[in-house]
């Protein structure tokens, strides 16, 4: 059999190395590789080059995402957006008046269940923060020097993968963590501290009952802010977990930190769920 009508050219070799050559040409290249040591060496070198480039450029993917880019990935304020979830209680209140007590009562019950829960979460998070952040000697159960076993332990107890975000670029080092009581299920608490001994806690709980994020519903979730006895809390729901970041620093700083936490967890999730390369 003749090896090929058309001689193997550089375009064939490039496409072959990139796995993009049509099957019949690829067969022709493979036959040529058997005969031609120089060609085989060239293919080897080009493959090695691809691997070198990937090795050199892949670490960029693992770099922490800066806050300004996370802010840029957030829906802009202006524009036509559907009514936000937090507006619903207002509509419902009007409906109650119009439709009468019976129906109103039902709607109210539903709304308390929907909108009441996150408030409880924020409130609970603020109390828990105040309780442990004030503790000088034993704020955590497991210290940061055992981060790996801490994360493993919390993951096991929550039944959900827990990650400790790296807040060092923002001046907050991990102190450690503990398990705290949640509504029905346990909550994982991670504590951070800056050079001025100001403490932050990230609380995570898995609570499928309160999941109200619509699948594929873009931008329907939000960071919500609450303040309780001077403790500010940004909280949000993502997949089947609720997150609360609490601290006594001001709202703007806390939001910047919340974005970074969210961004790191989202990026980790994207990596975990990405199909394996090659």
């Amino acid at each position: 059999m003749k090896s090929a009508v058309r001689p193997i050219d550089d375009a064939d070799i490039n496409a072959y190395v990139d796995g993009q050559l049509a099957a019949d040409r690829a067969t022709a290249v493979e036959e040529a590789l058997q005969r031609d040591a120089g060609l085989a060496e060239r293919v080897f070198a080009l493959r090695a080059l691809n691997a070198e480039l990937t090795d050199a450029l892949d670490p960029i993917l693992a770099e922490p995402i800066p806050e300004r880019l996370l802010a840029a990935a957030t829906p802009p304020r202006a524009g036509q957006r559907p009514p936000r979830r937090w507006m619903l209680p207002a509509f419902a209140a009007a409906a109650t008046l119009v439709l009468g007590l019976g129906i109103g009562w039902t709607v109210r019950g539903v709304l308390i269940e929907q909108s009441g829960t996150p408030t409880t979460f924020a409130r609970q998070a603020a109390f828990t923060h105040a309780l442990y952040a004030a503790d000088a000697r034993r704020p955590v159960e497991v210290w940061a020097n055992e981060e790996k076993s801490l994360v493993t332990w919390l993951t096991k107890r929550l039944g959900h993968a827990i990650h400790a975000p790296d807040l060092n670029p923002l001046g907050y080092a991990l102190v450690g963590g503990r398990l705290v009581a949640g509504n029905e299920k346990p909550t994982a608490l991670l504590m951070y501290e800056n050079a001025d001994k100001e403490r932050l806690t990230l609380q995570v709980r898995k609570d499928a009952k309160h999941v109200d994020a619509k699948p594929g519903g873009a931008g329907d979730t939000a960071f919500r802010y609450a303040i309780e006895n001077g403790v500010g809390v940004f909280y949000w729901v993502d997949d089947d977990c609720g997150y609360a970041l609490s601290g006594t620093l001001d709202r703007t700083q806390l939001l910047a930190l919340a974005r970074v936490v969210y961004g790191q967890l989202a990026a980790l999730e994207a990596i975990e769920h990405a199909p394996a390369r090659r």
Partner: protein, 180 residues
């Protein structure tokens, strides 16, 4: 009692967040230095929100964002070229401040620096094709569409880029990669 201090702030869009690391890498390959690359990513995200009605379900968001970023970069270059004060920012300038990713350890750094420096000497249009084909593993047809050039152009840029790097990068003989 807890009071909700103010209206909620939207979360970053998870699909965009997931795309950011790859956008940053592409931007780094185009622009070289960290700050300028991140500016480019930020502009890309802003443009993506402006054109959000074009996010079609089921399409490849990454490729769409890459297209936006490529176009922004090309427009910026045209701007710089018109502005004589910015001659030094020309596409083919080898003054690109290539910076090695932060996580590299000392031994890796030397090798990565070498590869990145050599890549930095290629013209931007060759660097991006190399990234998209060799690292992102996009199909040549997808790359052509993304860059608005014929497939033949993609292939010739790729071939020229590799030819230069093959001579410059000290490609190891068989077996060296196993050492790592």
């Amino acid at each position: 009692m807890t009071r909700d201090a103010d209206p909620p702030v939207d979360l970053p869009h998870p699909d965009l967040v997931a795309a950011i690391p790859r956008l940053r890498r592409y931007a780094r390959v185009l622009a070289g230095d960290h700050a300028r690359a991140d500016d480019l990513v930020q502009d890309t995200l802003a443009r993506a929100w402006e054109k959000r009605r074009l996010w079609a379900a089921g399409t490849d968001l990454r490729a769409w964002l890459f297209t936006i970023m490529h176009n922004l970069y090309v427009n910026q270059l045209a701007q710089w070229r018109r502005d004589s004060a910015h001659d030094s920012l020309d596409a083919d300038a080898d003054g690109l401040a290539w910076q090695v990713p932060v996580r590299a350890n000392q031994a890796d750094r030397v090798e990565l620096q070498h590869v990145l420096r050599e890549m930095g000497r290629l013209p931007a249009e060759q660097r991006e094709v190399l990234l998209l084909a060799a690292v992102e593993e996009l199909r040549y047809e997808e790359i052509a569409k993304l860059l608005s050039v014929p497939v033949g152009t993609v292939m010739s840029r790729l071939s020229r880029a590799r030819e230069k790097l093959r001579r410059i990068v000290d490609l190891p003989p068989a077996g060296l990669r196993a050492v790592k």
